[in-house]
């Protein structure tokens, strides 16, 4: 049994160590650094199962949800590092540096810091910690998105992300201050306690919540805060695009679920917030899926698809209620959907990076005839696309099934209706890639070589997509037994006031 916090601390130390090596090492080849990080992060996935469940406190929850999202964060970072290794040749071209490997070590270390932020966020049950960890994630992303400093698209994406991100952070902090002003608390459990005992004015509370939703809506790319997504996704280095679309989204949703729960039971507030979430869900599904239809660039297509999937996740979030049972089933749906989404999105980006390197471009037409050039890659991409579209026996199908089942339970049939229509649109643009891979003649017939580590990752992700789709019960049972909910009973100490005892002197 190890204290839970030691995981995050190890990740942070790893990041610092990597920066130090980058600064002082004379070697040009930085790939060893990334491989070391992959090894240590993999070991941490194993260690995370031996965490002391009583090592939480008022700031920091140690529960099944936290564990689940920490494992997701670690796995995502591992795959992103594998992608970065594959991508390093492209990256080196756009970096100002004298030696060929200059700056690459930094590129490998920043995702590790992001990972630490994501892991903190999974456990955060206090607005202070939520905010700080969210910023740790976002600031690392600002640098990473603009990392290819000789590439104008990357720089443009970086600026857009920085400005709009700062804007959304402003809204988030402003929302937190409103809620603090109303309840005098920043701890979620304490806020719940305060809302239940004190009389709080509804209108300002709603105002503060909406500001919070703005900040989080930006992170998960929900309409109307999604405009940055296509430009930033297309411009950013591809591994970072993958990280953004998975990591940032997962973080946003775990925080959303945790933040939402204290407010659901407040009369006149819970229902309205869920209505707004349902509206955002509907708009997001429609926007993401319809705008994806005419896209010809695969990265941009995935950006819109990522918006669409945020919509489905929001359907599940909008279907929570304050009773524990239904909150649980919607929470399980969100967690399972995110896990499935992670697998299939990382898989498609991984294949994209390999293909783009060989075909020198990331448009759909660069996938023409992939089945003839590399049946393995084509099959992996086929799996990812089928799963994203939601074909049975893949992770994507089961996730959508759970989401729609949660919506039906909550009586939101119109959301299910819109969801099914947009899924149909999704089939069109996902299968365009499949058609290009299998029915078009390849423009270039050279076979594609794949590094062993990448090959292993692709194989493992493909297998996992099917395992999640064919026998999801073990994972679901794990989630259900843990009880996905915002504030856990075993989260540590009873609610404290804001000026009460603060651990590690915040």
């Amino acid at each position: 049994m190890i204290p839970s916090l030691s995981l995050e601390i190890t990740v942070l130390l790893l990041g610092i160590l990597m920066l130090l090596v980058e600064s002082f090492s004379r070697s040009d080849d930085k790939r060893g650094l990334a491989k070391m990080a992959i090894g240590i992060l993999s070991a941490l996935v194993g260690f995370s199962f031996f965490v002391d469940p009583a090592s939480g406190n008022a700031f920091y929850a140690v529960d099944a949800t936290a564990h689940f999202f920490k494992v997701l964060a670690l796995l995502t970072t591992i795959v992103v590092l594998i992608m970065s290794l594959e991508y390093s040749s492209v990256l080196a071209k756009y970096l100002p540096g004298v030696t060929p490997g200059a700056g690459l070590g930094e590129f490998y270390s920043l995702p590790v810091f992001t990972c630490a932020g994501l892991m903190f966020m999974a456990s955060a049950v206090d607005f202070l910690l939520i905010f700080v960890s969210l910023e740790l994630v976002t600031i690392s992303f600002y640098i990473l998105v603009a990392y290819m400093r000789r590439h104008t698209a990357s720089l443009e994406a970086g600026v857009k992300y920085l400005i709009l991100g700062a804007l959304s952070t402003g809204f988030l902090v402003y929302g937190i201050t409103w809620i603090f002003g109303l309840t005098g608390e920043t701890n979620l459990a304490a806020i719940q306690h305060a809302l239940a005992t004190k009389a709080v004015a509804t209108t300002p509370l709603l105002f503060g919540l909406m500001l919070l939703l703005t900040g989080l809506g930006f992170k998960v790319a929900a309409v109307p805060f999604q405009l940055w997504v296509p430009d930033v996704y297309q411009g950013a280095p591809t591994p970072i695009t993958a990280f953004l679309s998975v990591g940032s989204k997962a973080a946003g949703f775990v925080v959303l679920l945790r933040v939402l729960q204290p407010f659901l039971g407040v009369p006149g507030v819970g229902v309205k917030v869920l209505a707004v979430l349902a509206l955002m869900a509907a708009l997001t599904m429609l926007y993401g899926n319809l705008a994806a239809l005419p896209q010809d660039n695969f990265k941009r297509l995935l950006a819109y698809s990522s918006i669409g999937h945020a919509g489905y996740l929001l359907v599940a979030v909008a279907s929570v209620s304050d009773t524990k049972a239904t909150f649980g089933s919607a929470g399980v749906a969100v967690a399972f959907y995110l896990a499935g989404y992670l697998l299939m999105t990382l898989l498609s980006f991984l294949v994209l990076i390999v293909v783009a390197r060989h075909s020198r471009g990331d448009d759909i037409l660069h996938f023409n005839g992939l089945a003839k050039r590399s049946p393995f890659l084509a099959f992996a991409m086929l799996t990812a696309m089928l799963s994203l579209a939601g074909v049975p026996f893949t992770a994507g199908f089961y996730g959508k099934l759970l989401v729609f089942a949660a919506a039906v339970q909550a009586g939101k049939f119109w959301l299910v209706g819109i969801g099914i229509l947009t899924v149909a649109a999704g089939f069109y643009y996902y299968l365009r890639i499949v058609a290009a891979m299998y029915w078009q003649e390849p423009g270039d017939t050279t076979p594609i070589t794949i590094a062993p580590l990448t090959r292993t990752a692709i194989g493992a992700l493909t297998l996992a997509v099917f395992v999640f789709g064919i026998c999801p019960q073990p994972i679901l049972r794990q989630l259900k037994d843990g009880g996905v909910s915002a504030v856990q009973e075993n989260a540590g100490k009873p609610p404290q006031s804001a000026d009460g005892l603060r651990p590690w002197g915040v």
Partner: protein, 608 residues
């Protein structure tokens, strides 16, 4: 779970592992693929033997799979008398056929693919046998369809094989569609797909007899397709395009028996519906008679056996309709051995004669292929119901059940028995006796041990499997009681006498007519052309389908495509195109729209 509860899972998983390994990694290594596949089936066989001697674990050997409100599908196994005997048949015959295939398929360039598909078939078939619910059975049912398709079309470069594979798959799909509707009907009235639950809540569905009859008959459609009953029997003779071991395993002993097995599994549903029983009975006996008539005029050795299989399956289906699942399973059990034996024997002949399948180009093989001849004789005698061989006992039970229920059906069944003796004697005499009628036949010879040994084992089983010592043990108490009751019912003596009479007359007739003939002395075009059913279907399809195709083509082009698809997709695409203009790339505009969104949502949330 106790240790014996794991064995059914071993049975199921061993072939799956083999299939996956071969498909993914071993497509180029023939020897290794064959070894793994044979090893997997041996593991299944061993585990089946353990299960057979172990206790029944009908309860609580399942893991939840799909858990939704109102819809639960577990992955679970049923181990009872019915699945135990079927497990033994499938893995036993399967193991022998695998070993036999080692020789038969040697040198085939896609040997690895063949063994991979064979393992896939074993997995699917065992899944049907072990399934404890309709949903799981249906999935494996379809998987059996797929693997059968792959195996029939193994030599897919031959047009006839590819066409036969398509025909088998499509014909089966017609039946399966009914099967699925039937399952949905049962589910919607009982609220569960698990056999155990359906049996417990039987009154929910028996309350409405018409509903029950329709549901049972729809489910029976699945059996019509899989067990090749009239009118969906057309695929089975064509399926003989596949390699002969496949014909023996799939199209004689196991897959086609799945329909009968499924009907026996749900006999508790059939029993309360006399109308459904009557339909099942008439379909069964109809198939038995028609197929036997067609068999009398075929010249291809495998096709004769195929029609004979149809006819025997008709017997079994009829027995289900007569509320006699015991005799049906008994006949399935004995038939699996002697029919697999006959097919493998035919395979040995075809192999020795360089893929010659016309019986008129054989002849005189009794001296050249001694072991094949001896074992084939045992199978032949068992099939035609020679007294004291296995087929005699099981067929007798079915005939007695018919006698006790419906005399007309009994007469037809007796006619079938006579015809069986006749056409099999024709085959036997023409192939093995007389003079060789081709060069190939002059140089016939027995295969190697791996080919002959399965024949001898099957021959022994064909002889002894019908005795009550084995039958009672194999069928289990419950099913055997059913057989026993019929055997001691009314008119057994008369039935036995008539059956022996049919056997003697049929055999003698065949012997006299065909002894020493070099070509067929009688010609009945109606039988030779299989009652023109294929032509009828072709005409039907050409007529109605073309008309329908023209009509639906018009409908598709103007209504569906024009209005719905083009209209809707155009609208969607257009919306997407317009939405794209929001994405103008200007940062100030983005920030402005962002702020607009915030204001809009705040208005909606706080003030609306």
């Amino acid at each position: 779970m106790e240790s014996h509860a794991y064995f059914p899972w071993f049975i199921l998983l061993a072939p799956l592992v083999s299939a996956v390994l071969i498909q993914l990694f071993l497509r180029r290594s023939r020897e290794l693929s064959a070894t793994i596949s044979v090893g997997a089936v041996c593991v299944s066989l061993l585990a089946s033997v353990f299960v057979f001697f172990g206790p029944d674990t009908v309860k609580a050997n399942e893991i939840p799979w799909i858990e939704l409100p109102d819809f639960h599908v577990p992955i679970g196994v049923t181990v009872d008398a019915l699945s135990k005997i079927m497990l033994l048949v499938v893995t036993g015959v399967g193991a022998l056929v695998h070993i036999y295939s080692l020789v038969y398929m040697k040198g085939d360039e896609s040997e690895a693919r063949f063994f991979g598909n064979l393992s896939l078939f074993m997995f699917s078939m065992l899944g049907i046998v072990l399934a404890n619910n309709f949903a799981m059975m249906f999935i494996f049912w379809e998987l059996v369809g797929v693997s059968s398709y792959l195996l029939i079309g193994h030599w897919h470069t031959r047009d006839t094989a590819a066409a036969a594979a398509n025909k088998a798959f499509l014909t089966n799909r017609i039946g399966d569609f009914g099967f699925m509707l039937g399952i949905l009907m049962v589910w919607s009235s009982v609220g569960s797909v698990v056999f155990r639950d359906i049996e417990h809540n039987l009154r929910l569905i028996t309350a409405d007899p018409t509903y029950l009859t329709i549901a049972v008959l729809l489910i029976f459609c699945g059996a019509i397709g899989k067990s090749a009953q009239v009118p969906l029997h057309v695929w089975l003779p064509d399926a003989m395009e596949g390699p002969t071991p496949v014909s023996a395993l799939i199209h004689a002993a196991t897959m086609v028996a799945a329909g009968v097995f499924m009907l026996a599994r749900i006999s508790f549903l059939i029993a309360p519906s006399p109308n459904a029983q009557a339909v099942i009975m008439w379909v069964g006996i109809g198939t038995a008679v028609l197929a036997a008539l067609m068999a009398t005029q075929q010249d291809d050795i495998k096709r004769i056996l195929a029609y004979s299989t149809l006819s025997q399956l008709g017997y079994m289906v009829m027995a289900i309709g007569l509320a006699a699942p015991g005799p049906a399973m008994f006949h399935l059990f004995t038939h699996a051995f002697f029919k697999a034996l006959l097919f493998l024997g035919a395979g040995a002949i075809i192999h020795a004669l360089h893929h010659e399948q016309d019986i008129w180009k054989m002849g005189g093989l009794s001296a050249k292929m001694k072991w094949t001849f001896r074992s084939f004789t045992a199978g032949y005698l068992a099939l035609i119901g020679a007294p004291l061989l296995s087929g005699f006992f099981s067929k007798d039970a079915i005939l007695a059940a018919a006698w006790q229920t419906n005399k007309l059906v009994f007469l037809l069944a007796l006619l079938t028995a006579f015809l069986t003796a006749f056409y099999m004697t024709r085959l036997f005499v023409v192939v093995f006796l007389g003079q060789p009628r081709s060069d190939a036949a002059k140089h016939g010879h027995d295969g190697p041990a791996a080919m002959t040994l399965p024949l001898i084992i099957l021959a022994v089983l064909s002889v002894v499997a019908g005795y009550s010592v084995i039958g009672e043990r194999a069928l289990g108490e419950h099913l055997w009681e059913n057989v026993h009751k019929i055997h001691h019912g009314e008119g057994v003596g008369a039935v036995m006498a008539l059956a022996i009479g049919a056997f003697v007359i049929g055999t003698a007739g065949g012997w006299v007519l065909y002894k020493g003939q070099a070509k067929d002395p009688i010609l009945i075009p109606l039988f030779k052309n299989k009652f023109y059913i294929d032509e009828l279907y072709a005409a039907l399809i050409a007529g109605t389908q073309d008309l329908l195709a023209t009509m639906s083509g018009w409908f598709d082009k103007w209504i569906l495509d024009g209005l719905f698809v083009r209209g809707l997709s155009g609208a969607a695409w257009g919306t997407g195109f317009v939405l794209r203009f929001l994405q103008i790339g200007n940062l100030q505009a983005y920030a402005f729209l962002f702020g607009l969104g915030v204001v809009g949502l705040i208005y909606f949330l706080v003030f609306a």
